[in-house]
């Protein structure tokens, strides 16, 4: 009986011994890692996340962390905790820790983590603004709560006043902001910065002439495109108008800002500086030219009726006789509290009355900013 018992014990021991050998050869020297908790279950791509557990760091072994199957960069590693950066372009999902040596590894899953999508800003509207104006940032993945969105313009905090929870944020251009890049972040994620600058207009520029002003004010960045066609056939272009506005003469100039052109799809912001447009390039009628009054009229001095233009001053066509019998005028009209301007030609009025939306005092001149694009017939 005693012998049978000894025999059974030996068989059992030998069997166990064989099995233990097999287990050890599977993962020699690798302890099973464990994820016990995580410091937050809602993160933004780029966030730092802290994972707690055991056997996360083991001697001579590599530790890797993946979130929803996406490898995360570990920035701090200890036996019972690690910190890692939530990778960009990651779905929500479970954490997975792996410790490995060559092709031997031990992995463990941790809790699920919700990942907020990376916020992206692709555009803004309008294309320029004054400080205090409300502008819209167009993009992707903005949280619905305004407080979870942060925006800086020229490194100054821009108050977020509205979010539609997906692709649009409204923010107020901060006081003192200059034309510069803007940056944003959502939740506690990383800060992203635009490549393009947001043009911030100033109430006043150091400008002695209308041209000085037009060059500095981002609302008139398309002037080059318009001026290129501002002269008439066979005569010098651009320079004729630019030179006149450069002289510092006291004038009143009626000219639209960029927005009306953009709004009507005539120009895109991307083409503002390079596109060539042909606003009413009639032989004898050209609104950009014909809308200069050779006198300085403040808003209070405007009067309804027709006004002789600077074209009569031998500036543009010094040897042409047309101005003597085919004169162009600026027709001013007041409707309610608003002034409207229209080209009045030898053949009658041209286009529709254009509303004056803003006036700038420039040296001893006035620049009247129009709220509609110039009359746009292409040829005579």
């Amino acid at each position: 009986m005693k012998q049978i018992f000894s025999l059974s014990t030996l068989i059992l021991l030998a069997t166990v011994s064989c099995k233990r050998d097999k287990n050890e050869t599977a993962l020699p020297g690798i302890k099973q890692p464990v994820i016990s908790s995580v410091n937050k279950d809602f993160v933004q791509a780029g966030d730092t996340i802290t994972v707690y557990g055991a056997s996360l760091q083991q001697e001579a072994l590599q530790t890797e962390l993946a979130l929803a199957g996406r490898p995360s960069k570990i920035v701090q590693l200890g036996k019972d905790s690690l910190q890692a950066i939530v990778p960009v372009n990651t779905y929500s999902g479970k954490l997975m820790i792996t410790v490995s040596r060559d092709n031997l590894f031990a992995s463990a899953y941790g809790p699920a983590v919700t990942v907020a999508a990376t916020p992206v800003v692709t555009d803004f509207s309008p294309k320029y603004a004054y400080e205090g104006d409300t502008i819209a940032l167009i993009g992707l993945n903005f949280p619905a709560e305004p407080a979870q969105n942060a925006v800086w313009m020229d490194e100054k905090t821009a108050k977020v006043v509205y979010s539609n929870g997906k692709d649009s944020l409204k923010v107020i251009v901060p006081a003192g902001a200059n034309t510069n890049t803007f940056s944003w972040r959502t939740y506690n994620g990383p800060v992203y910065e635009s490549t393009a600058s947001f043009p911030v207009r100033k109430q006043q520029y150091a400008a002695a002439t209308i041209m000085d002003w037009l060059r500095q004010d981002p609302a008139f960045s398309y002037m080059h495109a318009a001026f290129t066609h501002s002269s008439v056939k066979n005569y010098m272009r651009y320079d004729s108008l630019a030179a006149y506005l450069e002289t510092g003469r006291a004038v009143s100039y009626f000219f639209p800002s960029n927005d009306p052109w953009i709004a009507q799809g005539i120009l895109t912001p991307e083409r503002m500086a390079t596109a060539v447009v042909a606003p009413n390039n009639y032989t004898f009628v050209n609104f950009p030219l014909a809308s200069i009054l050779p006198v300085s009229l403040s808003p209070e001095q405007l009067t309804a009726g027709k006004h002789e233009t600077a074209l009569d001053e031998n500036i543009v066509f010094p040897y042409d006789s047309w101005r003597t019998y085919r004169k162009n005028y600026v027709q001013l009209e007041k409707i309610g509290n608003d002034w409207y301007v229209q080209a009045l030609t030898y053949w009658g009025t041209l286009g529709t009355p254009l509303k004056i939306q803003r006036v700038h005092k420039v040296g001893n001149s006035y620049l009247y900013e129009l709220k509609a694009p110039l009359p746009y017939d292409l040829d005579y």
């Binding site: 025999l7 030996l10 030998a14 199957g69 996406r70 490898p71 960009v88 372009n89 990651t90 792996t98």
Partner: protein, 241 residues
């Protein structure tokens, strides 16, 4: 003099021998079968790597599988592996250690499986499918995996007949196999609903043979942002059995 045999010692010797004999004469090991498919258009003609347990095993460019680039119809080529749980990683181009995805896939003995790399503008994800389905010698079997990130939910029709179970299939979704009659010249149509109107997104045609199973892969971008037409929407199929 009668020699006394020490029984426990004899048992130990026998058992030790048994252990070592077991090691010397390996039994036939079970195997599992795996193949991989790169569904990321950004890897068009740019190989990335598939690694198993940190060993680089395969280079794949877009629309590539273990058997090479997948045309309209190809046989799936499987690798034989020991069954077990594998770390399956797709890497970026250039270095197999630069992982885009890192997942555990449990590969059971005798099973066939495919691991697909899905990509939506850099949102990479590995998706594993089980490819085995009971063979029906009289019928063909089809299923669909949707790997086109900007395509709406789609349905599949063969000629004018909807394939049961292959409707409203979303990005990253793999349908079960559906039995369909064999057909020497069927028209496969991937359809979608555009504001109430059913429209065809892409179509293909090749013979459906009985007893085989086909995995259709809808891939590429509907709105192809690149100038490369090969990254546009397309349909491939793998014969997985």
């Amino acid at each position: 003099m009668k020699k006394k045999i020490h029984i426990p010692a004899l048992v130990l010797v026998l058992l030790a021998g048994a252990c070592s004999r077991e090691a010397e004469i390996p039994a036939a090991e079970p195997v599992t079968y795996a193949t991989f498919y790169n569904g990321s258009p950004d890897f068009y003609e740019i190989p990335n790597y598939v690694s198993l347990n940190n060993d680089s095993t395969l280079m794949l460019s877009y629309n590539g599988s273990a058997g090479g680039s997948v045309g309209a119809l190809n046989y799936a080529v499987y690798q034989m592996l020991r069954p077990g749980t594998y770390r399956v990683s797709f890497s970026d181009a250039g270095d197999y250690k630069d992982k885009l995805t890192d997942n555990l896939v449990n590969m059971q003995p005798g099973k066939h499986q495919t691991v697909f790399l899905a990509d939506s503008l850099g949102y990479f994800e590995a998706i594993a499918s089980e490819d085995d389905t009971p063979r029906d010698p009289a019928m063909a079997q089809v299923r669909l995996i949707h790997l086109s990130p900007d395509a709406r939910p789609v349905s599949m029709m063969i000629d004018l007949t909807a394939v049961p179970g292959l409707d409203s299939v979303k990005f990253k979704q793999i349908t079960p196999f559906a039995k369909v009659p064999p057909d020497p010249n069927p028209g496969f149509r991937i359809r979608y609903n555009d504001n109430g109107m059913e429209k065809t997104l892409v179509r293909k045609s090749f013979a459906l043979l009985p007893g085989r199973s086909y995995t259709f892969i809808l891939r590429g971008y509907v709105r192809n942002g690149s100038t490369n037409p090969n990254k546009g929407i397309n349909l491939s199929a793998l014969i997985t059995q």
